[in-house]
């Protein structure tokens, strides 16, 4: 598209050996033996007949691009040549994409939302005639839809994005997506909330059928209880689903062995219902859960938690390993919290001054020597780009995967740290990262989503 013509212009005209110091022959290539001490005088009107190319119009708006990176073997990155390389085009199999890679899918579609599950990626797309939700990656439980090019032989893995055929009318668009281990939740603008994929614990919001073959049969379930409600955010834990309404009530369903459904018991919960405990009556603005510990923030800046606490994530209110009802966490010295992220063993919170606090077990971001913290500790703001040259840089959002933590600052820079399976942090290596480091993406990162071993980001260009 636009960028490809630009690259073409640069590689042909400029790389023909013209960019060398000293004598340059006007032919555009070197002639051995013929040098000029004094360059030939230039005709003052030599540039008049050159065409003036317009690469960008005066009123054009910058595009949104999609970048993915991490493990490429399961097809979640969306580029088919990583898994089925074309020898004629000099493509090779790629196991790990260790730095951000720009996805062609984002050039041909207007992507409005994206999410990473465990080995698959789902995109919510605007204005296409086929579908408004696409997915790629592992498809063992139809988490990215049913794809049977040959009857009774469903594809177990997709290597490039394909439409997820949710049975809604053509005018309805999917606006929000969330994905867990093997299921996907999609919120449409006119026809409610739909789920697809594995339902072994009731995470799709429908009754559990024993010995159901999820890969063979794709069942799209519309969650009727949420039809009348305005959904602000959806989030998926490992095998649980959370729905946050605009009124601030959190609904959940799915696996509850660690109490992560927050419904007062440790069983599976196939019916969607509100979370009970201290959170009742509060106006929640964000829910975060990527594995089995859940954190929620209300509009006053207070944090509530429930679910797994084996790594002391909730130890400000309990010493038990799990809690099944929500409790308000006591976090002194942290200020008004605006964002939270709860991964497998680590938790992050962001306060209104742009400071990031982390606690839990693992590479929490304070260097290689700090491997656990029971209380939230502040990660120095200089690591997030705040130094004497840019004193106004502060963090605006935090996200996480299972063992990966990510933060975006006010200049649109993305910082990642944590465990690094397959180079999924996008830093160019596969070693664990013990403190936040900026990922090299040229553009303003709007949203990033982390899975187990891959990440996807929605980036706005500068021009």
């Amino acid at each position: 598209m636009l960028s490809q013509t630009w690259r073409h212009f640069i590689t042909t005209s400029l790389n023909k050996g013209l960019l060398c110091n000293g004598a340059v022959s006007s032919l555009g290539y070197h002639i051995r033996g013929k040098k000029r001490k004094v360059p030939k005088p230039l005709d003052p009107h030599h540039a008049d007949e050159l065409p003036e190319v317009e690469y960008v119009g005066t009123r054009s708006q910058p595009d949104k691009l999609v970048y993915t990176w991490g493990v490429a073997n399961h097809g979640a990155l969306g580029r088919p040549s990583f898994i089925r390389p074309d020898k004629e085009k000099r493509q090779y199999r790629l196991q790990f994409m260790q730095h951000p890679h720009r996805l062609a899918f984002g050039e041909y579609h207007k992507v409005t939302d994206l999410t990473c599950g465990y080995g698959f990626t789902v995109f919510a797309v605007n204005k296409t005639p086929e579908a408004s939700c696409f997915g790629t990656g592992l498809n063992t439980d139809s988490q990215v839809g049913g794809h049977q090019p040959r009857r009774d032989h469903p594809l177990g893995m997709l290597i490039s994005p394909a439409p997820i055929e949710v049975p809604v009318s053509k005018t309805t668009n999917v606006i929000k997506v969330a994905a867990g281990r093997a299921h996907t939740v999609m919120v449409t603008d006119k026809e409610g909330v739909w789920t697809v994929g594995n339902n072994a614990y009731g995470q799709c919001g429908r009754s559990i059928i024993t010995d159901e073959d999820y890969g063979k049969q794709t069942i799209y379930n519309r969650i009727r209880i949420l039809d009348q409600l305005d959904i602000a955010q959806v989030e998926c834990g490992q095998d649980t689903s959370f729905f946050l309404t605009k009124d601030g009530v959190v609904y959940s369903c799915g696996w509850g062995a660690d109490g992560q459904t927050g419904r007062g018991h440790y069983d599976n919960e196939p019916h969607v219902g509100p979370v009970i405990g201290d959170i009742e009556g509060e106006k929640v603005v964000k829910v975060s859960c990527r594995a089995d510990c859940v954190l929620a923030v209300n509009d006053k800046g207070e944090v509530f938690g429930w679910g797994n606490s084996e790594y002391q994530q909730l130890n400000s209110v309990t010493n038990e390993m799990q809690i099944h009802t929500s409790r308000k966490l006591k976090l002194p010295g942290v200020g008004k919290v605006v964002d939270v992220a709860a991964s497998g063993t680590m938790c992050l919170l962001l306060n209104e001054d742009g400071q990031v606090f982390s606690w839990g077990f693992g590479p929490i971001g304070k260097g290689p020597e700090v491997t656990y913290s029971k209380t939230p500790t502040h990660i120095p703001s200089t690591l997030f780009g705040k130094n004497e040259l840019t004193p106004d840089a502060k963090v605006v959002s935090v996200t996480c995967g299972i063992n990966i933590l990510a933060a975006i600052n006010s200049h649109g820079c993305l910082f990642t740290w944590g465990k690094n399976p397959g180079g999924c942090l996008g830093l160019g290596h596969i070693k664990d990262q013990y403190f936040p480091v900026r990922v090299a993406i040229a553009g303003e990162v709007l949203k990033v989503s982390c899975g187990v071993d891959h990440m996807a980001a929605l980036v706005r260009e500068i021009i």
Partner: protein, 313 residues
């Protein structure tokens, strides 16, 4: 306290050290060096030079009276030997070789000050440049004087977009400074160096690293940036302007490069062409001595860019 020196050897003894000169544009460093050496030797010869040592002759014979006479020594006469101070006697070295197209602050060392220039180079001081460019065309040499090979529109470039692109480039360079620290990125020392101040100086030889990029003037099609960097050269700065335009989806050519600061030395310290004579160079050596004394960096992190460079500009 002014000191008046009339005797050339005394001035020669004072002519040891590092000093700072404003190199005009379109002058190569080799030419500058020849001009300076010529001026210094001319000025030294104009002072009162060492008189010829007299020749002592003993005339006569042993039988007669022996007479001791002091005669004119032609072996030491300036008209025979040539001027007392010749260009080949003066050692002049530079800390960094500035390209013909770059004007500005240039650090040189004379006689025993040549060792000082090595020290200045090794301490990897931050240099600030004023780089001007013009959108709309690109040339084969990436500078104003080349042949135009492409033209493009530039009306879509706004000050805000240029600023955001500069911040992206700056953040990218700050991030890559991590690699050149000379420390293992997974180690505790790297974490401490980065979390203390955020800006780090490379521990070993590194490619050009940009620390600060600022817009000084934005007047389409012209723009002017202030670039603070280390280990750069003229070609790199021209490429910087060119790459900046590519990111903004247009073309640009570099029109001017001017070094305004070299570590603690600024434009106020540097000597203009009309002042390239012995008297002013000796003054400059004296003024540069305190600046030269503490330029060796102590730690990996750049403790306060502003403190490292002098307050005045």
């Amino acid at each position: 306290m002014l000191k008046i020196v009339r005797y050339a050897p005394e001035a020669w003894n004072m002519l040891q050290g590092v000093f700072c000169v404003y190199k005009p544009a379109d002058m190569t460093m080799n030419h500058l060096r020849k001009v300076l050496i010529g001026n210094l030797s001319r000025d030294l010869n104009l002072l009162k030079t060492r008189p010829a040592t007299p020749m002592v002759a003993i005339e006569g014979s042993v039988t007669e009276n022996l007479v001791v006479k002091v005669t004119e020594n032609y072996a030491d006469h300036p008209l025979v030997l040539g001027p007392r101070y010749q260009p080949k006697d003066i050692k002049l070295a530079w800390a960094h070789q500035l390209d013909k197209n770059i004007s500005g602050v240039c650090i040189l060392g004379v006689n025993s000050g040549t060792k000082g220039t090595h020290k200045v180079r090794e301490s990897q001081l931050i240099r600030s440049y004023i780089v001007s460019g013009q959108f709309g065309r690109t040339t084969d040499t990436l500078f104003n004087d080349g042949k135009v090979i492409g033209k493009s529109t530039y009306k879509h470039v706004t000050r805000g977009r240029l600023m955001r692109t500069l911040m992206t480039i700056q953040a990218g360079h700050q991030r890559s400074a991590l690699h050149f620290l000379g420390l293992d990125p997974q180690s505790q020392e790297a974490y401490e160096a980065l979390s203390a101040d955020g800006l780090v100086r490379p521990g070993e030889k590194s490619p050009p690293l940009i620390y600060a990029l600022k817009i000084v003037d934005f007047n389409l099609p012209d723009f002017t940036l202030e670039v603070s960097c280390i280990n750069e050269n003229a070609v790199y700065l021209q490429h910087l302007v060119h790459d900046l335009a590519l990111r903004l989806k247009t073309t640009a050519v570099c029109t001017q490069m001017r070094c305004i600061r070299y570590g603690p030395w600024t434009l106020q310290h540097s000597l203009l062409h009309k002042h390239w004579c012995l008297e002013h160079i000796l003054d400059n050596i004296t003024h540069s001595k305190p600046l030269f004394k503490d330029i060796m960096p102590k730690s990996a992190s750049l403790v306060m860019l502003k403190n490292e460079q002098s307050k005045e500009l």
